[in-house]
Symmetry: C2
Subunit: 308 residues, 2 copies
């Protein structure tokens, strides 16, 4: 799947992943009204509005981008109906040829970790049959519990040819509270990065490992160090746009081959219609606004990479 | 909810939480056959078998225990039907007066963390209405991303009078990989413990904070230190039984008042019928085997606490 991600990036010339992290306040009134009209102001109504919103977004941008990253929390908050929309969104994006990164940040141990791995990336056995639960292509994972929490995922990834992005240095302001603390003179995130390399060593695609890392755009200097520490790990870079990361900050996350990083933008794309810059496109045409924002982001990254 | 947990512990004289972490291999054949007969060897069939299994377990032990801890991964692996059983299990346990600790180990930032908090402990707004998604009483959380990932949960807990257990020192063999590393001469888990105290300071029940910690029974010496570092934090103690933790190891996790800890056992209780010790009870009477195992565990802890 890392090979497919890279080939999608090369085809689109856009190292961009769009975070499908819908919030009710992003969704244009006409969609919400239609969904509530059919299902009432219920969890089912919210889930339907989100589904229609996602579908229109994907229809308008799928040819420009290699991947999407739905954040499961945004669906989980609407309980079972929300999770049904999460699953439908994954299926729809895959039909469109997109790589789907499930932003699930799970992390647990032993048989529990195995259950998460099976549920999200693999197949679960029921009697003589087996079934995919959510069937994302990649999943994000939290490393606090150590190797026990990662290796069951690595095993499933090997079978399924799927991949992982492990949290190394996250984009949020308080990420330094624990991640930056020095251990034998080096920050915790570097120790985690070394483990990422180790976990991924036996799981190589053509040029990059199936096991990647998450490093926030908001910490470009750390990105520079981490890029060198993990030369064969793809880096998923959140924090561009709404969180403050700029195009120029991104150059350090890429290797000389122009690959090695994929930059996430969520509300910067999916709620572009609510930004002043794209307001003229109109709420009703939110898909067009998203498309314009993807094109602008692609150009911003292209210029930054050319300028280095 | 911390007050209810404590009152339930005092009523049952059992600082025990039963991990409802069902695996298909635990479930007696007659239940699986009945469920597959009705729904086929499908995700729905598996989910029905798990639901019937949980229901019988709870019916047989609810009067002896204060709380249950369903591990969401074990349900999530069966996709949407599995999560429907997770939700039904929570509802059923609450009807029986049990405190429900959702073992979800979520951890994310900002609006994402808020979405998880709302989905599991709070209510989500849909138009003029609001709905509980999963409605657990407590949730477990991973701390790697720092305060940004915890405070949205603390806010919801304040509104809903619910609680948290933050991973501090986990029970698994590789937990030391990152958690034990020394930062200014002290292990990372102690730094996390100090934050747990800080996060919970403003959220006190009658005698303990709504914000507790997870510390594995497999590391009793560390438990001793952490007990003193977090005097007002309830400690959820996994790792008893199957993972190797013994009754005698548990004494350090309790305060002088005999409170402050709740010990988890999962397969030691719910799959007791598969242990030699309880095999004579018979697979068909797995609920009785679970009941016997709870009584033995209660006695093991009682003796350990009396002997200190």
């Amino acid at each position: 799947m890392i090979n497919k991600l890279i080939s999608n990036i090369q085809k689109t010339q856009a190292p961009i992943v769009v975070g499908l992290d819908p919030m009710m306040k992003f969704i244009p009134a006409h969609l919400t009204q239609a969904a509530f009209g059919e299902y009432g102001e219920t969890l089912e109504g919210a889930a339907e509005a989100i589904w229609q919103y996602n579908k229109t977004l994907v229809d308008n941008i799928y040819d420009l981008i290699p991947a999407v990253k739905p954040q499961i929390a945004m669906y989980e908050q609407f309980g079972i109906p929300g999770l049904i929309t999460y699953k439908k969104t994954i299926e729809y994006c895959k039909e469109k040829g997109l790589v789907v990164i499930g932003d699930i940040k799970r992390g647990d141990i032993g048989s529990t970790s195995e259950a998460y791995a099976i549920g999200h990336l693999g197949k679960v056995q029921v009697g003589k049959n087996s079934f995919y639960g959510f069937d994302e292509d990649f999943a994000t994972l939290a490393p606090y519990m150590g190797s026990d929490s990662i290796t069951p995922f690595v095993k499933v990834c090997k079978e399924e040819k799927k991949g992982l992005f492990i949290l190394v240095k996250t984009s949020n302001p308080s990420s330094g509270e624990f991640q930056d603390r020095l251990i034998d003179g080096r920050p915790l995130y570097e120790w985690v990065a070394e483990k990422v390399v180790e976990w991924g060593a036996d799981l190589m695609g053509d040029s990059y490992s199936y096991v990647g890392a998450v490093v926030g755009a908001t910490y470009p200097e750390m990105g520079k160090v981490l890029r060198k520490l993990m030369p064969k790990s793809f880096i998923l870079v959140p924090g561009y746009g709404a969180q403050g990361g700029k195009g120029a900050d991104l150059v350090h996350f890429f290797n000389e081959d122009g690959l090695g990083a994929i930059v996430n933008s969520s509300r910067g794309i999916i709620a572009a219609h609510q930004q002043e810059k794209y307001a003229h496109i109109g709420e009703a045409n939110f898909g067009d606004a998203a498309r314009a924002a993807v094109i602008d982001m692609r150009e911003d990254i292209r210029q930054a990479l050319e300028g280095r």
